[in-house]
C-alpha cells in the first residue's frame, strides 16, 4: 500500500486522520477513495467535479506532480500539499 502524507490543515478537519497513512490503490483516485473510506468526507476536500484534484491542492507521487489518474505503487509516497497560490 502507498504511503500518504497529509497536511495539518486537512487533518484538522478530520481529527481521526493520520499525518502519515498507508492506503491501498493503484491510482491517485483509488488512494483518495481509500482515504475517504477511512475518513468519510475527505474526498470532498481533495476533489472537485470531473473528478479532478482541486485546483489549489498539489499532489505528488514519488516527488512528481500527479493528477487523479496517476499511477501509484505499493512503494509510492504520495504528498498532499495545499498550493502556495491558495489561501
Amino acid at each position: 500500500m502507498a504511503t500518504v502524507i497529509l497536511p495539518r490543515s486537512l487533518i484538522a478537519l478530520f481529527p481521526a486522520a493520520e499525518h502519515r497513512a498507508t492506503v491501498p490503490g493503484s491510482t491517485v483516485g483509488e488512494v483518495i477513495d481509500g482515504l475517504d473510506a477511512r475518513w468519510p468526507g475527505i474526498r470532498d476536500r481533495l476533489c472537485q467535479p470531473g473528478p479532478a484534484i482541486r485546483e489549489h491542492i498539489n499532489l505528488f507521487v514519488d516527488g512528481q506532480p500527479a493528477g487523479i489518474d496517476a499511477s501509484v505503487s505499493d512503494a509510492s509516497v504520495v504528498h498532499v500539499i495545499p498550493a502556495v497560490a491558495g489561501g
Binding site: S9, L10, A12, L13, P40, G41, D44, R45, L46, Q48, P49, G50, P51, A52, R54, H56, I57, P82, A83, G86, G87
Partner: protein
C-alpha cells in the same frame, strides 16, 4: 444574567464566539474556530441549538460546519453539496448563507443554488427547481459573484420560502422548492435601461419582519423595500435614508414595523459609511420615516463598510442590535440602536453576525 449574550461572528479568517453582558460589557472573544476558514454566514438552528457556519476554503472548497457545543468543537460536511461530478458541472466555490425551516437546514451557494439537509448537515441535496427556472440562462453575476445569499423560510408553512440572488433577484416557492417564481415587481434595477425587469434586480438582503409572516424587507443595490403580499409587489421605502445602497438589514423580532439598516455611500463611491460617519438607521413605521443613530460610533474617518450578514438582533426586550465592519470592529446596542459601544476590535474582516442569548 438577564442581559448576557453570545455573538457568533463569521469572518474572513474563521468564526469567533464573543460573549458578554450587553449592558455590563466584559466581552470575551474566543476563536478563531472552523480552522480559520472564510465563513460567510454563521447561525443557530432554532430547534436544536446547533451552530452552523457556511463558507469556503480556496484549498478545500465549500462546506458547512456544525457545532453542538456552542462553538467549542466543529465538524463539517459537504456530502451532496454538488451540482454533479461531471467535469462540465459548475463547481461550488463557497457557501454564502445558511438558513433553517421546519427541521431542515438550507445552504445558499456560489454559483447560485439552494441545497437542503434533512439530517442536520450530514448530507445535502440540491433543490434543483430553482436552477430549473426558465430565467436561469440569463443569470449574471454581481460584483460579489453569482451568489444565493438570503434564505427566508415561512415559519407557518414549510412549503414556502424566499431566496435572494445578487443581480438576479428574489424568488419564491410555495411547493417546497419544486417550482419557483420571481418576486421583483416594484424593485428598481437602475443599472439596466428601460423599465424594471422581471428579474435581474440586485437584492442584497432579504429579511422577514417580526410578528407577521407576509411582510418582508429588502435592502437592494437600488433602494430599500417592503412587501406585504409575500413579495408579489414591493413598496420602496428609501426616502429619508442618506443612500439607496447598503447591504445589511435586521428586523425586530416581534414588531413588524421596526427594522434597522446601515446605508453605505454608493456602489461607485467606495461603499463605506456616508461621509465617513458611522450610523445605523431605524424605522418604527415600516419605512415611512427613518431615524439615524451614531451615538457611540465613530463620526469621522470611519471609512468602513458592513456586509449583508454582518448585522443581527437579539430577542431581548429592549432588543439588542449588533453589527460588524469590514475592518474588524464589532459594535452593539442594548437599547434598540439608540446608543452604541465597541464590543471588539481588530478582528478579521467581519462577514456575519448572529446574536443569541444565554437561553438561545
Amino acid at each position: 444574567m438577564a442581559d448576557d449574550v453570545r455573538l457568533l461572528i463569521g469572518t474572513r479568517k474563521g468564526a469567533f464566539i464573543v460573549q458578554g453582558n450587553r449592558n455590563g460589557g466584559g466581552w470575551q472573544v474566543d476563536g478563531p474556530t472552523c480552522e480559520g476558514w472564510p465563513i460567510h454566514d454563521i447561525a443557530v438552528e432554532p430547534e436544536s441549538g446547533a451552530l452552523f457556519a457556511g463558507g469556503g476554503s480556496p484549498w478545500y472548497g465549500a462546506t458547512v460546519f456544525r457545532s453542538d457545543d456552542q462553538g467549542t468543537t466543529w465538524s463539517q460536511s459537504s456530502d451532496g453539496l454538488t451540482y454533479g461530478d461531471d467535469a462540465e458541472a459548475p463547481k461550488i466555490a463557497t457557501v454564502w448563507n445558511v438558513g433553517f425551516g421546519h427541521g431542515a437546514v438550507f445552504a445558499g451557494v456560489e454559483p447560485a443554488g439552494l441545497f437542503r439537509s434533512d439530517d442536520g448537515g450530514k448530507t445535502w441535496s440540491h433543490v434543483s427547481g430553482l436552477r430549473d427556472h426558465p430565467s436561469r440562462a440569463q443569470w449574471q453575476p454581481g460584483a460579489g459573484g453569482l451568489i444565493l445569499h438570503s434564505i427566508v423560510s415561512d415559519p407557518d408553512d414549510a412549503r414556502r420560502m424566499w431566496v435572494g440572488i445578487s443581480a438576479v433577484g428574489t424568488f419564491a416557492t410555495e411547493d417546497g422548492g419544486a417550482t419557483w417564481e420571481t418576486r421583483n415587481q416594484g424593485v428598481r434595477a437602475d443599472f439596466v435601461p428601460g423599465p424594471p425587469p422581471e428579474f435581474g434586480q440586485c437584492v442584497h438582503k432579504l429579511t422577514m419582519a417580526g410578528g407577521e409572516s407576509g411582510r418582508l424587507y429588502q435592502q437592494n443595490h437600488c433602494g430599500v423595500y417592503r412587501t406585504d403580499d409575500d413579495g408579489r409587489t414591493w413598496q420602496e421605502i428609501t426616502a429619508g435614508l442618506p443612500s439607496q445602497f447598503g447591504f445589511p438589514m435586521a428586523a425586530h423580532p416581534r414588531d413588524p414595523q421596526t427594522v434597522w439598516t446601515i446605508p453605505l455611500n454608493g456602489d461607485d463611491r467606495g461603499r463605506f459609511m456616508p461621509d465617513g460617519s458611522a450610523g445605523v438607521w431605524r424605522t418604527r413605521d415600516g419605512g415611512a420615516t427613518w431615524v439615524r443613530s451614531g451615538d457611540g460610533l465613530p463620526q469621522e474617518n470611519a471609512f468602513v463598510g458592513v456586509l449583508r450578514e454582518a448585522m443581527a438582533v437579539d430577542s431581548l426586550d429592549p432588543v439588542g442590535v449588533y453589527f460588524g465592519t469590514s475592518t474588524g470592529q464589532l459594535y452593539g446596542s442594548a437599547d434598540e440602536g439608540a446608543t452604541w459601544s465597541l464590543i471588539a476590535d481588530n478582528l478579521p474582516s467581519i462577514w456575519s453576525v448572529e446574536a443569541t442569548t444565554a437561553k438561545g
